[in-house]
């Protein structure tokens, strides 16, 4: 079965995100009051051949562990959808 997978990677809450801060300040200069805590991450999609959604999820988790995510600085969320 073919699965469409999405991975959202974001900087961990305890990590300074200077890019998010700079964007937040820029929003403030544009008078978007009330916008705060801007965080900038990454969005990835990939297609994966697997026997089940569970197996697809396991394999992506392993990809995240080995390459896609740095656990010291980043958190991630997965979603898997059969095609």
């Amino acid at each position: 079965m073919q699965f469409a997978c999405e991975i959202i990677i974001s900087p961990r809450r305890d990590i300074l995100d200077p890019e998010g801060d700079a964007i937040g300040r820029s929003l403030g200069r544009l008078h978007f009051e009330g916008a705060s805590d801007v965080r900038v991450g990454k969005y990835m999609t990939l297609q994966l051949e697997a026997d089940s959604a569970e197996q697809a999820r396991e394999r992506i988790t392993e990809m995240c562990r080995q390459l896609l995510v740095n656990p010291i600085t980043e958190d991630y969320e997965l979603s898997v959808r059969s095609l």
């Binding site: 990590i15 300074l16 200077p18 890019e19 390459l67 896609l68 740095n70 010291i72 600085t73």
Partner: protein, 233 residues
């Protein structure tokens, strides 16, 4: 002493490192392509600066998993001298040979300038000819050199004397105004537990001859020569 300089796609300080090892220090030096499996029997392995794989994914992430890294890990694990400069430091962290992380500079700028480093330990092959408190003038050129460590790791690095260099003022003051990138505690370099692997953001290989504006970097290479002559590694 035989040195190997690993070249990744996007390395751009490889020739500076080759020049310093070969021409300035007089060592037998070999360039090693990242797809190679062998370090050609080198005693010292240098991962040079640059932008390996265009900094895709995270700086050093893809290079840190390239074929040559199996040999680099084996070399480091048996106590072999291993030095990562700038992108090389990022690669060593991504490969798991050094702890912590290098984040985007807190100022959000690419910093290309001279900095001063205070020598914080002489207890390593890289710093054995230096004195505690010596100040080195070296260049930096990076956008992601903001050293981060968890509180526990920071405590461990300090307790084990594994922070050989901190950014400082010209007169040696480790002060916030001397910190070019927001690194925790002005950390400019770290050692592994075995003290044979060093990662540092500043470039000693670009400052090893007076004609380049500073020859202070040469003192690190001279330390290595002395360490090698004495211990034989």
């Amino acid at each position: 002493m035989k040195a190997a300089v690993v070249i990744f796609p996007g390395s751009n300080c490889d020739h500076d490192a080759l020049h310093t090892c070969e021409q300035v220090m007089g060592w037998s030096t070999v360039p090693v392509w990242h797809e190679s499996a062998s370090l050609s029997g080198a005693d010292l392995v240098i991962l040079p600066g640059g932008f390996s794989y265009g900094d895709y994914l995270r700086c050093g992430a893809i290079a840190g998993r390239s074929p040559i890294m199996t040999a680099v890990k084996a070399h480091a694990e048996k106590g072999g001298l291993t030095m990562g400069i700038c992108n090389g430091f990022q690669i060593l962290i991504e490969a798991g040979l050094l702890p912590g992380a290098l984040l985007r500079n807190s100022c959000m700028e690419f910093r290309c300038q001279y900095v001063h480093l205070r020598v914080e330990t002489a207890d390593s092959g890289f710093t054995r000819s230096l004195q505690l408190g010596d100040v080195l003038k070296l260049p930096i050129a990076h956008g992601d050199g903001n050293y981060f460590a968890t509180e526990d790791l920071l405590q461990e690095l300090n307790a084990e004397d594994r922070i050989p260099f901190r950014y400082c003022t010209e007169r040696g003051g480790v002060l916030p105004e001397a910190n070019p990138n927001g690194s925790l505690e002005n950390i400019a370099g770290v050692l592994n537990k075995g003290r044979n692997v060093l990662g540092m953001m500043p470039h000693p290989e670009r400052a090893s001859e007076a004609i380049l504006g500073s020859a202070d970097g040469r003192r690190i290479f001279e330390s290595l020569a002395g360490a090698f002559a004495e211990v034989g590694w």
